[in-house]
C-alpha cells in the first residue's frame, strides 16, 4: 500500500478510493477529486505524466515510492 502522491496510490489504499488499471480513467478520476489506486509504479508514472507533472517531479515521487516499497514501509 504505497502513496505516490496524496491522491495517487499503488496496489491498495486505506482511504476511500477508486481502483483502475486504465490510465485515462485514472486521470479523469484524479481531476474529479478522487483518490485513485493503480496497479503498478509504471502506471503511476504514466498517470502523473498525463496529469502534467514535470518530469523531475514524476521521477522524484516514483523514486520515493519505490524506496518505501523496498523498505517494506506501508503508507
Amino acid at each position: 500500500m504505497t502513496a505516490v502522491t496524496p491522491r495517487l496510490w499503488v496496489a491498495s489504499c486505506h482511504f476511500d478510493h477508486q481502483a483502475t488499471a486504465d490510465i485515462d480513467t485514472a486521470v479523469e478520476l484524479l481531476r474529479a477529486g478522487k483518490t485513485v489506486v493503480v496497479p503498478t509504479l509504471d502506471d503511476a508514472r504514466d498517470v502523473l505524466s498525463r496529469c502534467g507533472a514535470p518530469e523531475e517531479v514524476v521521477d522524484y515521487r516514483i523514486s520515493r515510492a519505490k524506496s518505501r516499497i523496498a523498505r517494506n514501509v506501508s503508507d
Partner: protein
C-alpha cells in the same frame, strides 16, 4: 500580522472581486486576527488568499475597492509551541507512520508566517494529484505534511506543511499527513 513588503498594485490573481466580497474578506481578516481558524474553512481560493495576504489599497466609500497583497503574512492557525518543544527522542518517526486525513480546523502552527507564493502554489489544486512541492529542496521529511499529536493534551501541531494545511483549510477539505505521536518536553509543555 508579521511584516512584509506590500505590493501596491492590485492583485487580481483570482479575478476581480464580486459585490460583497471585500466586506467578507475584511470580516475574515478580523476573525483571523483572533485566530478563529474555522472562519477560513471552505472560504475558497480568492476569499481565503486575500483574507490572509490582502491589504486594502483603494477604498470606495467605506468598502475596499482593491487589495494589494503582502509577500508574507501570519499563519492562520494558533501558534503556541514550536518544534523545539517536542521531545523527538520519544516520538514516533514520520518515516514509519501511515498517512491519515486530518481536519485542518483542529491544527495549530509551529511557525509564525506563511509565504504568499507558497500558498498560491498549493491553492492551484495540483499538489494533491502530482505531489509537486513548492520547496524545490529534496528532503524526505517534507514530502508529506507532518503533524505532531501530544499524547497528554491531544493537541495537533503542524511540524511540516503549513502552506498545504492552509490550502486544505481554505478548500474545505482534510489534509493528508503523517501523524507522529509523543509528548512535549517537560519544561515547555503549556
Amino acid at each position: 500580522m508579521i511584516g512584509g513588503t506590500l505590493s501596491v498594485t492590485k492583485d487580481s490573481t483570482f479575478g476581480d472581486l464580486a459585490e460583497g466580497e471585500s466586506r467578507k474578506i475584511m470580516e475574515l481578516k478580523g476573525r483571523l486576527h483572533l485566530k478563529e481558524v474555522d472562519a477560513l474553512w471552505g472560504a475558497g481560493p480568492r476569499i481565503g488568499y486575500l483574507a490572509i495576504f490582502g491589504r486594502p489599497v483603494k477604498y470606495q466609500g467605506r468598502d475596499v475597492a482593491e487589495f494589494g497583497t503582502a509577500l508574507v503574512s501570519s499563519v492562520p492557525f494558533p501558534y503556541r509551541n514550536d518544534q523545539r518543544d517536542v521531545d523527538f527522542k520519544q516520538a514516533t518517526s514520520e518515516l514509519n507512520v501511515p498517512l491519515v486525513d486530518l481536519d485542518p480546523r483542529r491544527l495549530e502552527a509551529s511557525q509564525y508566517g506563511l509565504r504568499r507564493a507558497a500558498l498560491l502554489h498549493y491553492l492551484k489544486d495540483t499538489y494533491d494529484i502530482t505531489g509537486q512541492l513548492f520547496d524545490r529542496g529534496r528532503n524526505e521529511s517534507n514530502d508529506w505534511p507532518v503533524v505532531f499529536e501530544d499524547s497528554v493534551s491531544q493537541r495537533l501541531i503542524i511540524l511540516q506543511g503549513h502552506h498545504r494545511s492552509t490550502a486544505a483549510l481554505i478548500g474545505g477539505r482534510f489534509v493528508r499527513a503523517r501523524l507522529i505521536q509523543g509528548k512535549f518536553k517537560e519544561l515547555t509543555a503549556r
